[in-house]
């Protein structure tokens, strides 16, 4: 019995981190209506940034948040400014911008191969002060870095919720996501909002990178592992919904961990897809999705 509770709680811990990795994707989609196929690679960049920062300075991995997150914000900001935006402008009047999607796919390949070129294919793990630390409760074991990761995810989720709801910039972002034309008529500079949203999406990958690195390995295609999961989570939770992404992540994490206690681990992947399809069938816009036409 106890191992099922252990599995459930571990699923929630890991799932929250999946959710955090997916928030950036949902944010960018919510605002720009662009599916960022390079999302996994951006996460990989965030992980490498955290890896190198911790490795070179030897500081506490969670302090690296203060360097990696701003770095990732500007990385995203300029990626949107110089790479995504030109194609986006060219397709301004197209209802479903396809070229932008292709461009993000290109960015995915470029980032992955650049990382392969720069860092090689080997798996890197950085030993930090929290790596391998265990918290034991009632004979159940939890990895300290995962608990901290869960805490960070909850804080970031709450902050983000507040930021989008009450701050001026958050309101501008929401306005743009609801109606870009009307928002720009109100004096909101659309391209700037896009840059900032893309930057924020990437910054969130930076957060995920910093909390993953103390217990997870880094290599050039590590993003692929989280990529498909992020897409499922985002659709499951409702495209564009922050709380939906985090809840979706937790659902996937729990299915994977708890499901594996009753069947071979191979089949939990299938189980995730089955739940995904059922949710889509009952609520096509996802759990927290708005019934709007994208």
């Amino acid at each position: 019995m106890i191992s099922y509770v252990e599995a459930l709680l571990n699923g929630i811990l890991m799932g929250s981190i999946y959710g955090l990795a997916a928030v950036g994707l949902t944010l960018i989609f919510g605002v720009m209506k662009v599916i960022n196929f390079a999302h996994g690679s951006v996460l990989m960049v965030g992980m490498f940034a955290a890896y190198w920062f911790v490795k070179l300075t030897g500081v506490n991995p969670y302090l690296s948040l203060f360097v990696v997150v701003p770095f990732m914000f500007f990385f995203g900001y300029f990626l949107q400014q110089f790479v995504i935006k030109p194609t986006f402008e060219a397709e301004k009047n197209v209802r479903e911008p396809i070229t932008v999607i292709i461009v993000t796919t290109g960015v995915w390949y470029i980032l992955d191969n650049l990382a392969l070129l720069l860092f090689g294919a080997e798996y890197r793990v950085v030993k930090t002060s929290v790596t391998g630390n265990i918290v034991e409760i009632f004979n159940m074991y939890f990895l300290l870095p995962k608990i901290i990761g869960f805490g960070v995810t909850v804080l970031v989720g709450i902050y983000f919720f507040w930021f989008l709801k009450y701050s001026k910039m958050g309101k501008a972002i929401r306005a743009t996501s609801l109606d870009r034309e009307a928002a720009s008529l109100m004096g909101i500079k659309q391209s700037k909002i896009y840059n900032i949203s893309f930057g924020l999406g990437c910054a969130l990958c930076g957060v995920a990178g910093c909390i993953l690195v103390p217990f997870y390995y880094v290599y050039p295609t590590v993003g692929v592992t989280f990529d498909i999961k992020s897409f499922i989570i985002v659709v499951l939770g409702g495209l564009g919904s922050i709380s939906g992404a985090i809840l979706g992540g937790i659902i996937v994490g729990v299915i994977e961990t708890l499901g594996a206690q009753f069947m071979a681990a191979t089949w939990t992947e299938l189980l995730v897809y089955i739940v995904f399809l059922i949710v889509l069938f009952v609520r096509p816009s996802g759990l927290f999705g708005l019934k709007q036409d994208f």
Binding site: N113, V125, G132, I134, Y141, F215, T221, L258, A260
Partner: protein, 394 residues
């Protein structure tokens, strides 16, 4: 006619299909480096003398560990690049269909490493495998376990199987099951998992619940790291963990797991501490050039180039039919083959190297660094080393 003979005397094209990106990229790149080093040496020493000093030329194709990509690349290498010989593909799942393409076009295909039995059990004529096949690996894992129980007077009853759900892992598991039943072990867990899993805690929780005496593992590199660290962190303490090469033999594995991998037993084709002629020099050269020790896979890739050289020298032509005939009868025991754990490479009816023999190593910390020390068979055991069995609780 004259044209082709002239071209043949210039270069011999070797097509290599290996994973250069994707989940097995790190092992693929080691194979690439080993092949390049061998070919540089062969060309510098005057190339293929019986072909008028023809040079070897390597052409690489990235399989990304995907069977379909392997097949398309084989077609491309044969039809567009006109390769004379093929090697690859490391992943059994890729080698299996890809070698079928080579057989169809009648192009000799050297398989340095891919352990799935059926690769050489289809009655093909053009496929030659250097490494041992998985039934041999599995057989030796169990013989090793028997020997260890006798040597240390420890009783093992409950075994658990945890393996990646690809061709390789399921192939191993199938044979484990049978051997375990024959030898009277209780199988307490039989668990396939997807090698791309981002979290293996669920599998480890299960392992903890059944609390086995011995855990058998088959993993690629990323999941090997994840599993080993999670097993140590979740406080699972079996008497022994016996792994199956692959990810556990990857140099980045020890780096990434550190103390967590101590006392694990791994079955490999080859190890750097084997007492064999020429091994130290070649390994030192490789390490100087690429910063890592050779691995079993890399050595087989390296030696496959020398095997190709030997076959070409004997055949005196790149005609695939002739080359195949020469390979069938080859008995390659020259200096480079001596690096292996056995003396010669020669192939049986099916194209399987009859002498291939795995060894078992134990991971131990030596001066703050994790090392792999050969423990089995006893006659090649690392000098002065006594294995630790059962492993102490961590």
């Amino acid at each position: 006619m004259f044209g082709s003979a002239f071209a043949a005397s210039n270069t011999v094209k070797i097509g290599n299909i290996i994973p250069l990106s994707g989940p097995s990229a790190s092992v693929g790149i080691q194979g690439k480096q080993a092949r390049e080093m061998a070919v540089r040496e062969i060309n510098a020493a005057g190339g293929i003398k019986s072909l008028g000093g023809a040079k070897l030329e390597l052409i690489f194709a990235d399989s990304k560990s995907e069977p379909t990509t392997g097949v398309t690349e084989a077609e491309r290498l044969i039809n567009s690049e006109n390769v004379d010989i093929l090697t690859g593909c490391w992943n059994s799942a890729v080698t299996y269909p890809t070698s079928q393409v080579a057989e169809r076009y009648k192009i000799p295909f050297i398989v340095p490493v891919s352990v799935r039995d059926t690769i050489t059990e289809r009655g093909f004529e053009y496929i030659f495998r250097i490494a041992a096949k998985d039934s041999w690996w599995v057989r030796d894992q169990f013989s090793f376990l028997d020997d260890m129980q006798k040597e240390f007077d420890v009783d093992v009853k409950r075994v658990a199987f945890v393996y990646e759900n690809g061709d390789w892992g399921t192939g191993f598991a199938e044979k484990w099951r049978k051997l375990a039943e024959d030898r009277g072990y209780d199988i307490v867990l039989d668990e396939p998992y997807p090698s791309t899993a981002s979290d293996l805690t669920p599998v480890v929780i299960k392992l903890k619940r059944v609390n086995p005496d011995v855990v058998f593992l088959v993993s690629n590199a990323s999941d090997a790291i994840l599993l080993t660290n999670t097993i140590a962190e979740m406080d699972v303490n079996p008497k022994a963990i016996i792994t199956s090469g692959g990810g556990h033999a990857d140099p980045s594995f020890l780096e990434a797991t550190g103390k967590n991998s101590e006392y694990m037993f791994d079955i490999v084709e080859w190890e750097t501490d084997l007492n064999r002629p020429g091994l130290k020099e070649t390994n030192a050269k490789f390490k100087k050039e690429y910063g890592q020790n050779l691995t079993g896979e890399a050595v087989d890739a390296y030696i496959s180039m020398y095997l190709i050289k030997e076959a070409l020298e004997k055949a005196g032509t790149t005609n695939p039919q002739k080359l195949k005939d020469v390979l069938r009868d080859i008995n390659y025991c020259d200096g480079k083959a001596k690096m292996l754990a056995y003396d010669c490479i020669n192939f049986d009816e099916s194209g399987q190297n009859q002498n291939a023999m795995p060894v078992i190593v134990q991971v131990r910390e030596r001066n703050g660094e994790m090392k792999r020390l050969t423990v089995w068979p006893k006659n090649v055991r690392h000098e002065g080393y006594t294995p630790v069995f059962p492993q102490p609780a961590k």
